[in-house]
Symmetry: C2
Subunit: 651 residues, 2 copies
């Protein structure tokens, strides 16, 4: 492994610097970087694998020492990040880095069911994950919209449940090896008993209702669920899990268990009779019973079961790992009950929240901060989650990166790191590094916008795109009727979740307001506002020609309008003048218009629809989601600092 | 084949539009595009393969008819180019296209010896070639700097002659299949008897001098050559060519034959005795004799030999195909003597000439225009040539594209097409299309410049880069000592051979000068000149920080200086004023400085060094190459229109 890793490392140094480096073992000149490690690390042994390393760079030499090969991999990633260009060429600053991860489980859950992600997409993102020192790729392999892995035992699962879009077992073995070479485990998830419509396309006999079933094209929580009262269901699942436990070498096996609405169980007389006969109280009890059976099956395969936090019910064997997604409270509860736990609440990348939100979420904060040491020790780490209703192979990378790196850093680095400004500086540099590692997150927007513009350069489209963001949380699903085969080729699909331009503008506005009329920032604030105000005139003809841009006409016009208001506000600030009576109130009213105002981070957590549906116990989730409807599914991200400019004019 | 092609086509339509298209054979809705073809076309039978197709798009339906599967592939490429975005979405304009190629051999010669090109690089460029309707990839597999294909018969060839950078036979079979699926043949070249230093690293016994030899790191025409007097040489070559003829299914087999300087033959008493004993006159006769033996060996394998035009000597069997690179004259001569011929003179992409130069070169122009019909019928077509002394896997695509498309169009489309302005409009759109097909030529410059800037956005670097071009012809080799392992990470490596900004600026200057003081172009000319003049101030701090940019300081300063001169000239033009006496002459003098002035196309053909070396018979080649030394290996491409602005001020 180390040999391959060293060759890959050489290739990456060469690519990064443009200096060809031949793999020349016969060279007599002393090595530039000496690698040493004491043993090969077995990634799959979570208890004993060591990922620590020490990197020493002096004026004379560089050494990378690690107890295991895995540590060497991590240290190589650090070394690659340290290469910089100076006045006399490339260099690595002299430094000693003694580094080790805070948590042993640093994962990314990727949903390949809602949108199938071809192998090259997975490979390039595994490369990016390795650069960010993630160590687990959790593949959500089945859901209502698709069963994505070949089963030789039950071939109808993938044949009838995937539209032909699945990984063969050979491909998956290749991918597992690819990930292992880069220090990543692959954890498979088969989500049961709900989220199983695609299974029933080929195997309706598993379902609680007679069917027939076809692959689900919509999105949400659907009624179909496995019939937990028939022993044939368990026999089927045991055969399938036995097959899959053989395919996936990882000691962990994810059984899902989330979002069972119970409706199809309610509709079945047999199931309701079964509940009564067993002395169970309700569907929830039935689900708990089902989960325990699943854990049993997984345990028989010498694997450790992982499930979403719904499986945490009385009677669940403590050997099962709980992945907490509905809030930090369930994480603490599970840890207190003796379960190993993973945090995913706060790490949902598909909610389109800023990187700082994810950076702030810590597995040991909130209720978890009050855990006793023995309980806290059960926190294995966490996982970023990427559900792909609104992500395609084309824009997945920009939905993941660079924000996922915030979570990777939170899970690797000491808990103390909190400075958001310095974090964003690092993130900016790391985003470029991720592109070198293979991610397409920076090139995809440009290509998608070229398509939107009908194949011409359209600086005005970029100007607009740079200051808008997709609507947050699950709001987009309520703006249009979803189908899994909808084209994701709109402006909203081409803009990053977080606008760098808006973040910088906002910071400049804060600085200018703090410093007063003479602040040096006013000139560039004015210049930006002028460009935004004048942009609609340049963009209008393009909008008229492109059917894909029609919907953003109002957004473009709105940017013109609010930038003009802001320019007036800037005049009042710089002239230290008082606006006419009522001016600020009038403008603030306009700025409250739909589409102008992204929510603040503290109520960015869940929509009320989601809260109702899941009966979440988190305080954050109870706050009502009031994101206004936004044209084209986008929000103007510079609206909040503009509102601030207006509201702070002299009264 | 058609089935795979149809699936690939669907994927590309989906990628181009962002509309997911499932491969649904069971769909009952009528097909959007109906494909028909009468038989599968065998690409390898040059005489009978038909590439024609008819594409009919109406308001109701689209049909693509072709006699062969190869024609269907070509028609699909046209259809993909026709997809456009209109006010109500994507569409294909109603039209009937009845299309067929002018020449059956439309190739690209790629040198994988000077710089090894990994398989992904070849694959993505095969995709781009297919988009441009090329049908031959000619791989220059061996040269002084590397022997790039695995030989099982003589493994020391690739083991000792490639630095570990070679294609295995399995990989090559895969690549041949990949190319065939896209309608491209792969023609292998083993260049003998010169350009063989890398062979001798493992097999010094083949050489004319005792050696020892090692892989050549320099570039040029070297002395080592196969010993043509020993029968063992022929036995070796026959065994090797037999092996390679089995690996490469193409009926054509390229034996090179170029640039033998004869020095090592002169130094060998045995060889000179052999010449005398055989009644040969000189080395050239010996070379002719060697070529005939090579043709014989190739013919025994049921293959047709191809060679560079040096092999055209009395006694060469007419079955051999001549690839003319030293000028159109040799093409006509070979055709008259009964050889099939390929034009490559005028198609050397590594000379960094503008696309229009290549577009102007026609296989039936010059002396070839005077050929009798039976002779002219021997012109099979032509090949773009890409020698890779100065191209790496990172920037190869931008050295090839979009300029190679000019040659593809010249070889496919009717000879009448000559309008350069309309050609550039098409090329601009096609360049974007090539990126969608997989070429990295548009993204590579951005990434390379980010590296040059040390990982930050550097608009000022882009402003400079957009108006410079690499020095032309083989001038770069005389500006620095070449080694094949030189880093190709300088600004010159990141700029396209042809500056679009300069071309557009030049056209605007011409229009403005023609229209006079009131021309609407003056405003934007002034704006561009102002940006260029002010750019150095912005770029200076970056240059100070980046060791890779030091060398372009003078270029950046020069742009400032000449833009200031041009702005003065613009003032005189728009004010209809006369500059002070001597002003124009003074400025024109400055503008004659090294680095400001790319040569005009008509003397862009060859450097005098090259001409001397090859004893070329072309008039163009005799012109003396007087390109001035340029800082950083780049020329300021806006210097010529700026000079025009100065020279046209009132006298």
């Amino acid at each position: 492994m180390l040999d391959c890793a060293a060759r890959r490392f050489l290739r990456r140094v060469a690519a990064q610097t443009g200096i060809p480096l031949l793999d020349d073992r016969s060279a007599t000149s002393p090595a530039t970087l000496t690698l040493t490690c004491r043993r090969s690390g077995d990634l799959l042994k979570l208890d004993t694998v060591e990922e620590s390393y020490t990197l020493r760079v002096t004026g004379q030499s560089a050494t990378l020492d690690a107890p295991t090969t895995v540590g060497v991999l991590r240290g190589m990633e650090t070394f690659l990040q340290m290469i910089e260009l100076g006045p006399s060429g490339f260099r690595v600053p002299a430094a000693t880095v003694a580094d080790a991860p805070r948590f042993p489980w640093r994962g990314l859950m990727l949903d390949v069911s809602r949108h199938f992600m071809p192998l090259p997409v997975l490979r390039r993102n595994i490369d990016a994950m390795a650069a960010a020192k993630f160590n687990v790729l959790h593949l959500h392999l089945s859901d209502d919209q698709g069963f994505r892995i070949e089963s030789k035992v039950f071939p109808k699962l993938h044949q009838m449940g995937s539209d032909g879009q699945f990984y063969t077992q050979d491909q998956m073995r290749g991918l597992i090896a690819y990930a292992r070479d880069r220090g990543l485990r692959i954890v498979p998830e088969f989500d049961v008993p709900g989220h199983t419509t695609a299974w029933f396309a080929g195997h309706p006999e598993l379902a609680s209702q007679p069917g027939p079933y076809k692959i689900e094209r919509g999105v949400g929580v659907f009624d179909p669920a496995i019939d937990p009262t028939r022993e044939e269901s368990y026999a089927f699942l045991e055969r399938l899990f036995t097959e899959m436990a053989g395919l996936f070498p990882d000691p962990y096996f994810h059984i899902g268990g989330d979002e069972v609405n119970g409706k199809d169980w309610n509709r079945s007389e047999r199931i309701q009779k079964f509940i009564a006969a067993r002395g169970l109280k309700n569907n929830q009890d039935l689900e708990a019973w089902f989960s325990s059976r699943m854990v049993e099956i997984v345990t028989k395969q010498q694997k450790i079961a992982v499930g979403w936090d719904e499986i945490l019910q009385p009677g669940l064997p403590t050997g099962a790992v709980i992945q907490s997604w509905r809030g930090a409270k369930s994480l603490a509860e599970a840890a207190r009950q003796g379960h190993h736990v993973l945090l995913s609440s706060g790490y949902y990348l598909d909610l389109m929240l800023p990187a700082s939100t994810h950076y702030a979420a810590d597995p040991q904060s909130g209720e978890a901060a009050a855990l006793k040491p023995a309980e806290a020790a059960r926190i294995l780490g966490g996982e970023a989650c990427m559900w792909t209703e609104w992500a395609s192979p084309e824009n997945l990378d920009m939905r993941l990166w660079p924000r996922a790196a915030a979570i990777a850093e939170r899970l690797w680095s000491p808990a103390q790191g909190r400075d958001v400004n310095r974090f964003y500086d690092r993130l900016d540099a790391f985003s470029r590094h991720l592109e070198r590692a293979g991610s397409t997150h920076r090139v995809a927007p440009r290509r998608m916008r070229e398509r939107l513009a009908g194949g011409v350069d359209a600086p005005a489209l970029n100007t607009l795109a740079d200051v808008v963001e997709p609507v947050k949380n699950y709001r987009r699903g309520s703006l249009q009727v979803y189908r899994s085969d909808l084209p994701l080729n709109r402006l909203v699909d081409s803009v990053p979740p977080e606008s760098d331009s808006a973040r910088r503008f906002s910071a400049d506005v804060d600085r200018a307001l703090a410093a007063g009329a003479q602040a040096p920032e006013w000139a560039s604030i004015r210049a930006r506002l002028t460009a935004w105000r004048d942009n609609h005139t340049a963009l209008k003809p393009l909008i008229a020609r492109s059917g894909l841009l029609t919907e953003i006409g109002p957004v473009s016009e709105a940017l013109e309008e609010i930038s003009a208001i802001a320019l007036q506000a800037v005049e009042y600030h710089t002239a230290k003048a008082k606006p006419p009576a009522g001016w600020a109130a009038l403008q603030a009213g306009k700025l409250a218009n739909p589409g102008y105002a992204p929510l603040k981070p503290d109520i960015f957590v869940y929509c009320v629809e989601l809260q109702k549906r899941h009966n979440s116990t988190d305080a954050g989730a109870r706050k009502i989601c009031t994101i206004p409807a936004a044209a084209g599914g986008v929000l103007i991200a510079v609206a909040p600092p503009i509102r601030k400019l207006v509201e702070t004019t002299k009264k």
